[in-house]
Amino acid sequence: MTSTANATALRRRRRRTTLVGWSFILPNFLGFAALTLVPVVATLLLAFTNWNSYSTPEWVGLDNFRRMLDSDNFWAALSNTTYYAVGHIPLTLAASLGLAVLLNQKLRGVGVLRTAFFFPYITSLVAVAVVWNMLLSPDVGPVNQLLKAVGVAHPPGWTTSTDWSMPAVIIASVWRDMGYYMVLYLAGLQTIPAELYEAARVDGAGPWKRFWHVTVPGLRPTTFFVLVMLTVASFKVFDLIQVMTEGGPGRSTLVLSQLIFREGITQGRFGYSSAISLVLFLLVMGITVIQFQLQRRHER
């Protein structure tokens, strides 16, 4: 008797929790499902069709994927995107964390400094492209002048050379994005109780030790968020490259998002561009799931 009553009560409570959970999520979910989730799922399904934005989509199975495997553009874009991500993610992470820790102090005028470091993110992209291209100009740019002064005989050609255009783009994008992620880290730093720092100080831990033993573990949820967002953003990079190099010279900075845009909107091969999106999606999801698993292991 009592056990069944308990079970009913438990079930009822569980149903209540589910209802409560859904009630929190629903207001956001309705808008999200109708206008983001549905088109995303539709796009991923279109990867198996020959849709051109105007026709009725016809099922073509794996044709788009076969075409993709044969395409030099796809492989170039995939390897360029990976190159970009591998350079951009750790550098931005380190730079934004460093800035946040430096600017989290109670200094006079720190608000102005924080604003200054956020400025790259809101500076017009055209200005960013022109000034970085000027700084990195092979013959007259200050960067190469400096390299020559310290004894580099053949400084890189940066955006004018196929080998160095990607590093140039990465440098400019780290510069642009670090203020953005700094804002997220600044919020994260507020979750670390001051008592922990006090305790560490009493223990005789220097600033470096406090950073590694208090700040870094305390920032783990934020770092996880930043890492996931940074990974996603790096694999989807579009704007800055479009303005700075347009994927060139040649196709040395062509990335997947550009290829998706070009094949879809420009050429009207939406089936094919959706297939590339699907690959990009699986790639990013794969990395994100690994990041989730690692995070979970840390939580335990």
């Binding site: 200054a116 600044l186 919020a187 949820p221 968020f225």
Partner: protein
């Protein structure tokens, strides 16, 4: 979940201090030294930070300089850092060349409404994901994350078709619906809520607060830094967005600042001085929002909430 991390660390770091008087004696002189060192350190820090921020503002300086040039003088080799002549009238002309005031108003309206909805519904949903356990929760969350992994360029046309079918194309509402319910805010707030100790909610539950009450009375006040950064980043994103408004807004009186600036780009030629003038003007609201909002990043409310 992550609170365990915090507690674990506080346990190791807060290991029993080694005795009373001797330890205090040991720390005294060190504190004295560190005070002198701190002044030097601060001066150094200021110098480094100021130099760095100056270097970082070079492209912005270029934007400022270009905004008072003639169109033909913007792109030159080598770059002219001091204009041949200053054309301050650019800042007066832009208001009559394009309906800048209307565009600013539209941008402001969209940014404020979208930011408000994103922060409100995002933090609300995040509570469900972070603090309520129910079946299907993680799968649902994965769906949110999954959509971030697809570039917008890939699904903008299907999305447009849906919007066209609902009949919302060429309205501000279309953009509001599109951008107010993104995964970004939900994810950000969920991560933040997870770092708020479970004990707080438990205590509140014992006091008889409902889940909604806990969200409103405990979570929201404690998450001010995260709310501030979410609001700021959403505002900036909406303010600077070009492709979304471009695809969805056709009527000129609905246009945003970013569309207005692009109208200076022609088929064969562009009026770059005007574009830079407009860009400088459009940065100002963001500057105000940032200067106001950044104070909230460093209000250590979560700290006091621990005890």
């Amino acid at each position: 979940m992550s609170t365990t991390v915090l507690r674990k660390d506080s346990a190791t770091d807060g290991a029993p201090p080694s005795g009373g008087a001797p330890s205090r004696a040991r720390t005294e002189p060190r504190r004295g030294r560190s005070r002198a060192g701190r002044v030097v350190g601060q001066v150094l820090l200021y110098t480094v930070l100021t130099a760095l921020s100056a270097a970082i503002l070079v492209p912005f300086a270029w934007m400022l300089v270009s905004s008072v040039k003639l169109d033909a003088e913007v792109f030159t080799v080598p770059i002219q850092w001091i204009p041949k002549s200053f054309h301050w009238e650019n800042f007066a002309d832009i208001w009559t060349e394009i309906p800048m005031l209307t565009y600013l108003g539209n941008s402001l309206f969209l940014s404020v409404v979208i930011t408000f909805l994103q922060v409100l519904t995002g933090s609300f949903a995040a509570y469900g994901f972070a603090k309520v356990r129910f079946p299907g929760r993680d799968a649902l969350f994965l769906a949110y994350i999954a959509t971030i992994a697809v570039p917008w360029q890939a699904y903008m046309v299907p999305q447009y078709i849906i919007m066209q079918r609902i009949g919302l194309v060429d309205t501000h509402l279309s953009l509001i619906l599109l951008q107010a319910f993104g995964a970004f805010g939900v994810f950000l707030m969920r991560q933040y809520y997870q770092s708020i100790p479970e004990e707080l909610s438990e205590a509140a539950r014992l006091d008889g607060l409902s889940e909604y009450g806990i969200w409103a009375r405990i979570m929201l006040p404690l998450s001010k830094p995260a709310l501030a950064s979410l609001a700021l980043l959403t505002f900036v994103f909406t303010w600077n967005d070009y492709m979304g408004p471009f695809i969805y807004l056709t009527s000129n009186d609905l246009w945003t600042v970013q569309l207005g600036l692009r109208s200076f780009v022609g088929v064969y030629d562009s009026r770059y001085a005007m574009i830079m003038t407009g860009s400088v003007l459009s940065v100002l609201p963001i500057l105000v929002v940032f200067l106001l909002g950044q104070r909230h990043f460093v209000q250590g409310i979560a700290t006091s909430g621990m005890k």
